[in-house]
C-alpha cells in the first residue's frame, strides 16, 4: 500500500561561511491520510526548514538539499520542476506560516491577498472570491469581516494577522495542511477555537495535518501521532499516547518535565539549554549531557531511529538495549 505522504532520508544543510551545517536529517517519516501528525521541537530544531522544503520554497542558497525523497501520493516533490510544484502548492498542499507580520504583503490590503489566493486556486470570479474570503475570515473568528478586508496588515493587531494567515491557508482548500506554529500569538480561548477548527477540517474533509509546534501540550491535544525533533533529527515518534505517557528518550523526558506543574516540580531546563548548540561535527549522541548513565556507544555513534514497540520508535542506544534512561 502506497503511503500518502512519506519522507525518505532527507538531508538538508545550511551553508554558512564557517562551513556547511546539517539542519535536517530525517531517515523516515510517514503521514497517513486524514490524520494529524505533530512535530514538536524547540526553535531552531529545523521545523520550519522541513515545512519549507516540502513546499519547495526553501531559500537555496543558503539551504542545500543534499539527498532524500519527499513522496506525496507516490510522486517525489523534490524532483519536480517549479511549474509542477506550482500546481501542487495551494491546491493540494497549503501552509500556515509562523510569523504573520513578515508573511503578509505590506502594500496590499488583506482582502486583496485572500481573494487573490482564492481566485488562483478555485478559479472563481472576483465577486464570488470576495464572498468566500469573508466566509473564511468569519471562520477564524474575526468580527467585522467585511471591514477587515479593506485593512492593511500593519493596521491589524498581531492576533488578527495570525488569524488572517490561517484564513488564507484554509481558503486554499488543500488536502494536506502544514501548520507551522499556527497559534503562537493567540489568546488561549482563540487558540482553542482554531484547534477545534483544524480538528473539524480533518474529520469532515479528511484533510491531513502536519502540526508543527514547540509546545508539547498543544500538539498532544490536537494530534494523533507525535514526533520529537531535536537538532534536525527525529529522536522519538509514536502515537500521542505512547510518546506522552511512555516517553523513552531522555530528551523527550526532559521536554515533558520542563512543562511547569507546581512549584515543587524540578525543572531540567538548564540541562536542555546546555544540550543545544553542540558543535558542527562532533560524533556521538548530541543528547549525551542529559543522561545520568551513558555507554561507550553514546560517545561514538549517533543513535538511529529504531522501532521500540509497535508504532513507538526511539533513537537512543540505551533504550534499544532495553535499559532505563534517567536524567
Amino acid at each position: 500500500m502506497k503511503n500518502y505522504f512519506e519522507i525518505e532520508n532527507l538531508k538538508v544543510d545550511y551553508k554558512t561561511y564557517e562551513g556547511e551545517k546539517n539542519v535536517l536529517d530525517l531517515e523516515h517519516f510517514v503521514l497517513e491520510k486524514g490524520k494529524t501528525f505533530g512535530l514538536v521541537g524547540e526553535s531552531g530544531a529545523g521545523k520550519s526548514v522541513l515545512a519549507q522544503t516540502i513546499l519547495g520554497i526553501l531559500s537555496r542558497p543558503p539551504g542545500i538539499i543534499k539527498s532524500g525523497k519527499i513522496l506525496f501520493d507516490g510522486e517525489d516533490l523534490l524532483s519536480k520542476s517549479e511549474k509542477e510544484l506550482r500546481r501542487i502548492r495551494g491546491k493540494r498542499i497549503s501552509m500556515i506560516f509562523q510569523d504573520p507580520m513578515s508573511t503578509l504583503n505590506p502594500v496590499f490590503t488583506v482582502g486583496t491577498q485572500i481573494t487573490r489566493v482564492i481566485r488562483q486556486n478555485q478559479g472563481v470570479n472576483k465577486k464570488e472570491a470576495f464572498k468566500r474570503a469573508v466566509e473564511k475570515i468569519e471562520l477564524v473568528k474575526i468580527s467585522d469581516a467585511a471591514d477587515i478586508m479593506e485593512a492593511y496588515p500593519h493596521e491589524l493587531s498581531g492576533g488578527q494577522r495570525q488569524r488572517i494567515i490561517i484564513a488564507i491557508a484554509l481558503s486554499c482548500d488543500a488536502e494536506l495542511l502544514i501548520a507551522d506554529e499556527p497559534t503562537r500569538n493567540l489568546d488561549v480561548t482563540i487558540q482553542a477555537g482554531i484547534l477545534k477548527l483544524i480538528a473539524k477540517l480533518q474529520k469532515e474533509l479528511n484533510v491531513s495535518v502536519l502540526f508543527i509546534a514547540n509546545n508539547l501540550g498543544l500538539a498532544s491535544a490536537t494530534c494523533d501521532h507525535l514526533a520529537m525533533l531535536h537538532e534536525g533529527k527525529i529522536i522519538e515518534k509514536g502515537t500521542t499516547k505512547e510518546v506522552l505517557h511512555n516517553p523513552r528518550h531522555p530528551y523527550t523526558k526532559a521536554f515533558i518535565e520542563a512543562i511547569p506543574k507546581d512549584k515543587n516540580h524540578k525543572i531540567h531546563l538548564e540541562q536542555i539549554a546546555k544540550n543545544n548548540g553542540t558543535s558542527l561535527n562532533s560524533a556521538g549522541c548530541p543528547n549525551i549531557n542529559l543522561c545520568l548513565e551513558t555507554e561507550e556507544k553514546c560517545q561514538e555513534h549517533i543513535p538511529m531511529l529504531k522501532q521500540f514497540q509497535g508504532t513507538h520508535w526511539v533513537a537512543c542506544h540505551r533504550v534499544q538495549e532495553n535499559k532505563e534512561v534517567n536524567l
Partner: protein, 336 residues
C-alpha cells in the same frame, strides 16, 4: 495624510526660498560689471550710470534682493544682457523643446529600465543577468556628449540616415506650417495629423532622445534589480508562492509594488540627471532648448540668463523631489 502633504509643501517652499537666495547671492558676487555688459564696451560714463540705476545696482543688498523676489513672483526675471529680451520670455520659448526631449527620453528610459531590472532580478546570476548588469553599468558611465558625437558620425556622417541636429529640417521649416499648440512637435503634429512634420520631427529626435535615455535606463535598471532582489527574499514572497500564485503575479504585482518607493526616488533622480544631461546633449545636437540657452549664456556671462535658468532648474528639482516624496507616501505604511 493631509498633514503630511502640508508639511512637505512648507518644507518645499522653505527650500525654494533658500535656493533663490543662494542663487541671488552667488550671481551678485560676480566681478564683472553687469552695467558694462548691458550698454556695451564703448559706453560713456553717464550711460554706465544710467544703466546702473536701471539695473538697480546701487541699491543696498536687501533692497536688491527684495526687488528680485517680488519681480520673480510677477514672472520678471530681468532681461538677458545679450539679447535684451526678458529672460522669462526666452525661457518660455525654449522650454517646450527641452520638455519634449526630457519627457520622451525619461519615459522610455524608465520603462525599459524597469523591464530590464525585473528580467535581471528574476534570472539572477544567469547569463541574462550578467549581461543586463554590465549593460546598465555601462550606460551610466558613458559620457553623453561623446556618444552623441559618435552617433552623429555614424548615422549622419557615414550612413546619412539621420540629420545632424535641430528639431526640423530646413525644407520642412520653410514649406510646412508648423503646428504650435504645446510647443512639443511630436505631440502637436500628431494632433493636427500633419504627418510630414511628424516624421521629420521624429527623425530629428531619435538620436538626442536615445542619448538622453541611456542614463535613466541604466539607473532605473540597477535600482529596480537591487530593490527587487531584496524584496524577493522576503517571507511574504515565499508565502505567496506557497499559496500557488503564478510567478507572473508574484513578480510583477506582489514584488514590484513593494519596490515602487525606491523606484520613485530613482525616477526623480533620473529626471534630475536628465535635466542636467540636456545641457550637453542639446549643445551637440543644436537642439533649441534651455540647455543650449544656458550653454551659450555661460560663455558670454549673461548673468540674468544664467540666474533665470538656475532658478528654474532648481525649482523644478524641488518640485520633482516633492512629487517623489508624495509617491513614497503611497506606501500605506508611511501614511499612518
Amino acid at each position: 495624510m493631509r498633514i503630511f502633504i502640508i508639511k512637505r509643501l512648507l518644507l518645499g517652499v522653505m527650500v525654494l526660498f533658500g535656493v533663490i537666495f543662494i542663487t541671488f547671492v552667488i550671481v551678485r558676487i560676480i566681478p564683472s560689471d553687469p552695467a558694462t555688459q548691458w550698454v556695451g564696451p564703448r559706453a560713456t560714463q553717464e550711460q554706465l550710470e544710467a544703466a546702473r540705476i536701471e539695473l538697480g545696482l546701487n541699491d543696498p543688498f536687501f533692497v536688491q534682493f527684495g526687488n528680485f523676489v517680488t519681480d520673480l513672483f510677477q514672472g520678471k526675471m530681468g532681461k538677458s544682457l545679450r539679447s535684451h529680451q526678458p529672460v522669462f520670455k526666452e525661457l518660455k520659448t525654449f522650454l517646450p523643446a527641452t520638455l519634449e526631449l526630457v519627457i520622451l527620453s525619461t519615459f522610455i528610459g524608465v520603462i525599459l529600465g524597469l523591464y530590464l531590472g525585473v528580467v535581471s532580478a528574476s534570472r539572477k546570476d544567469q547569463w541574462v543577468d550578467h549581461l543586463c548588469r554590465f549593460f546598465s553599468v555601462s550606460t551610466v558611465s558613458i559620457p553623453a556628449f561623446w556618444i552623441g558625437l559618435l552617433l552623429q558620425f555614424v548615422f549622419y556622417g557615414i550612413l546619412d540616415w539621420l540629420p545632424l541636429g535641430e528639431r526640423l529640417s530646413m525644407r520642412v521649416k520653410l514649406f510646412q506650417e508648423i503646428p504650435d499648440i504645446t510647443g512639443m512637435l511630436l505631440f502637436d503634429s500628431l494632433i493636427t495629423w500633419n504627418m510630414v512634420v511628424f516624421w521629420d520631427a521624429l527623425k530629428h529626435i531619435i538620436l538626442p532622445g536615445f542619448v538622453m535615455a541611456l542614463f535613466p535606463i541604466g539607473l532605473v535598471a540597477r535600482m529596480t534589480r537591487s530593490a527587487l532582489l531584496e524584496i524577493l527574499n522576503e517571507d511574504y514572497i515565499k508565502a505567496a508562492r506557497s499559496y500557488g500564485l503564478s510567478e507572473r503575479i508574484v513578480m510583477w504585482s506582489y514584488a514590484l509594488k513593494n519596490s515602487l518607493g525606491p523606484t520613485a526616488t530613482v525616477v526623480t533622480l533620473a529626471i534630475g540627471f536628465t535635466l542636467v544631461n540636456t545641457f550637453l546633449v542639446e549643445s551637440i545636437f543644436s537642439w533649441p532648448g534651455i540647455g543650449n540657452y544656458i550653454a551659450t549664456a555661460v560663455i558670454v556671462l549673461d548673468y540674468p540668463a544664467i540666474m533665470g535658468v538656475t532658478i528654474f532648474s532648481a525649482c523644478s528639482y524641488v518640485f520633482l523631489n516633492l512629487a517623489a516624496d508624495l509617491i513614497i507616501a503611497l506606501d500605506p505604511r508611511v501614511r499612518t
